[in-house]
């Protein structure tokens, strides 16, 4: 018997499994199932959204057999099972239900149906199906060298140490987030990552991103929605492997429901980030029980993130969370900022022009030259700065005066001012590089304007 923990990739839901049961009358039944969940060393669980023959059979004859496939080696494994008990509440049920809803949300199926129950099975035996695959032809060169486990762990540990040092050294929030995301690629090979920070509206705002081009910052995810929103709401990491396979499976159910006249009305929600992501991992950034953000990673490789990745990145997530908290509270004036942030100034812009900033007061939203720029508190801050500059020519401002200005609506505690300024700075860099906000010392920043500025206000669009 092989140990279930030695084949964790078989439980990621990348390749569907085959489940066989038998009725009390002796009639075998076989069906494809999208995922077998690993519960512990001797138990697995299956999720059920519809009552079906498999469920009926195991309640009268508890024996079952399942064929699993490794998405890494394509080898086959057979588990002989005995139905143990159903669960309709508790941690296992919640975990499986949350996972179901994450995938359902991407196909517009949230609330259409829910997990009915999780059936837990005792694993009586687990075996490698000998002879299913012929041995690999040794004359065919392998596509890539397989890294030894110890070698990989040593590399990952070195990577963690390097990133941990960057977190420790970062003098401000912006440097912290950018250097961590860059290091995730350089040290660990994760090319697509973002950090989202919560705002006062219960939304998560992308404040730093890496590997998505220039357009990633500012994208929002509602709390509780999709993988990132669910991770934030549950404060637990989650990952989805084989996203393409999962989406195909759910689109089939959606089509079947439509055929049965129960078509879900919600549209498909595009995956955030990479349009063709095959694997996603999101980790909550927590200080105690308090959520300070979400670290989200994506890959085009279906098996890019496994349980091990989740575990060691969680260590890193804890460090990042503490770093964010430290940066948000160590906001006193006076200290010199790293050169990478302070006085970096955009390269000279050749042709001065006039940019028109339009504030829509009803939803605190600013457009620049008819293109959306920013909203909410960062928009109020920008408007205050532009007004002050236009009225008195002022260019230098302090965090403290922003905090004292009640009209901005900053919360009294944990105001996340630093992250709002980062968001504002990055949106300006992307949409209006002639207007920049540059930190000059800790707690002070400069408004740099290299164009004509025209301000307009109206109640609504």
């Amino acid at each position: 018997m092989i140990a279930l923990r030695d084949i964790p990739e078989c439980f990621e839901g990348v390749i569907p499994a085959m489940m066989t049961t038998c009725s009390l009358e002796g009639e075998p039944n076989i069906t494809e199932i999208s995922q077998v969940h690993l519960v512990d060393d001797t138990h697995v669980a299956l999720s059920h959204q519809f009552f079906n023959k498999t469920q009926r059979n195991v309640r009268e004859n508890p024996h079952a057999s399942v064929l699993l496939f490794s998405p890494r080696t394509y080898e086959q494994y057979r588990l002989q099972l005995r139905f143990d008990h159903p669960e309709s509440e508790g941690p296992l049920f919640d975990e499986m239900a949350a996972r179901l809803q994450v995938i359902a949300s991407h196909t517009g199926m949230v609330g259409v149906f829910k997990l009915r129950c999780a059936d837990v099975y005792e694993v009586l035996s687990a075996e490698h199906v000998e002879g299913y695959l012929l041995p690999a032809d040794p004359r065919v060169p392998r596509q890539e060298r397989t890294e030894g486990r110890l070698e990989a762990m040593a590399r990952e540990l070195r990577g963690l140490q390097a990133i941990s040092c960057r977190v420790n050294r970062a003098g401000c929030l912006e440097v912290l987030l950018e250097s961590v995301l860059q290091a995730l690629e350089e040290e660990l090979g994760f090319r697509h990552a973002m950090v989202l920070l919560p705002d006062e509206r219960g939304r998560l705002v992308t404040t730093a991103s890496h590997g998505y081009g220039s357009g990633g910052v500012g994208a929002e995810v509602p709390m509780g929605e999709g993988l990132i929103g669910t991770v934030a709401a549950r404060r637990r990491p989650m990952r989805v492997a084989g996203v393409g396979a999962e989406l195909r499976y759910w689109r089939t159910i959606r089509a079947e429901l439509r055929q049965a006249g129960n078509a879900p009305s919600a549209p498909e929600i595009p995956l955030p980030g990479l349009p063709d992501a095959q694997a996603q991992l999101a980790l909550p950034l927590l200080v105690g029980d308090r959520l300070v953000g979400v670290l989200a990673l994506e890959s085009r490789e279906p098996m890019a993130f496994d349980a091990w990745t989740e575990t060691f990145l969680n260590i890193l997530a804890n460090q990042i969370a503490l770093g964010i908290d430290r940066a948000a509270s160590a906001d006193d004036e006076g200290e010199q900022l790293p050169a990478a942030v302070a006085g970096e100034g955009t390269a000279a812009i050749a042709v001065p022009r006039t940019r028109v900033f339009q504030l829509f007061r009803n939803d605190d939203c600013i457009f620049v030259d008819s293109e959306y720029l920013i909203r909410n508190i960062p928009a109020k801050i920008l408007w205050k700065l532009l007004r002050a500059h236009s009225e008195s020519g002022r260019t230098e401002f302090s965090n403290r005066e922003l905090r004292l200005d009640e009209s901005l609506g900053l919360p009294e505690v944990r105001d996340n001012l630093e992250s709002r300024l980062i968001l504002l700075r990055k949106r300006l860099e992307e949409k209006c590089p002639e207007v920049q906000i540059r930190p000059v010392r800790r707690g002070r920043f400069e408004l740099q304007i290299r164009c004509g500025v025209q301000l307009r206000e109206s109640d609504s669009a």
Binding site: C22, I30, L67, Q80, Y132, L133, R248, T252, A255, E256
Partner: protein, 165 residues
């Protein structure tokens, strides 16, 4: 008694994944991947091919209990049908049936490749020598995931959705 219509026969030869289920005298089920299928007797009988390398216990069960279930699933969109019936004959597949299992494996490779499964792996599936198991089809069931899964198959299948990987 059930009869497979031409659309279903075509579906079965379109590179579907095939699973064959059996059970022993204690009603303990066991299954194996099949490596080919042929519809006979005007759609009333089916021969399914099981690799000798992996199907010994399943074949023993089928010879003993004579009850069989075969599921065919399209990997692209998960459309799926289950055939249940009575085993009529179990024998070693003949040499002239090898080409049928060769074609099945090649077709499966073409189906799985766009989904990210390298064809080299499919070509490593040990498909020969094989057992040939002929059975009389008694019942057909929808196995496509969704509210209709497990209901009697009325046919025909809806057209496959375009592949989005």
């Amino acid at each position: 008694m059930a009869t497979l219509d031409p659309a279903l026969v075509e579906f079965l030869s379109s590179g579907v994944v095939l699973g064959c289920a059996s059970r022993d005298a204690r009603l303990v089920p066991r299954s194996v991947w099949a490596v080919g299928i042929r519809v006979e007797a005007g759609g009333e009988e089916v021969t399914v091919f099981l690799p000798m390398a992996t199907a010994a216990e399943v074949v023993a069960n089928l010879q003993d209990a004579r009850r069989i279930a075969v599921v065919a699933t399209a990997p692209v969109d998960h459309r799926s049908v289950q055939l249940k019936g009575q085993v009529l004959e179990v024998r070693p597949a003949s040499e002239d049936e090898q080409s049928l299992t060769d074609r099945y494996r090649a077709c499966l490779g073409r189906t799985l490749e766009p989904l990210g499964v390298p064809r080299a792996f499919v070509l490593r599936i040990q498909h020969w020598p094989a057992h040939a198991v002929r059975f009389r089809v008694e019942e057909l069931f929808v196995q496509t995931p969704g509210p209709a899964a497990g209901q009697p198959f009325q046919g025909p299948f809806r057209p496959p959705e375009p592949v989005r990987t």
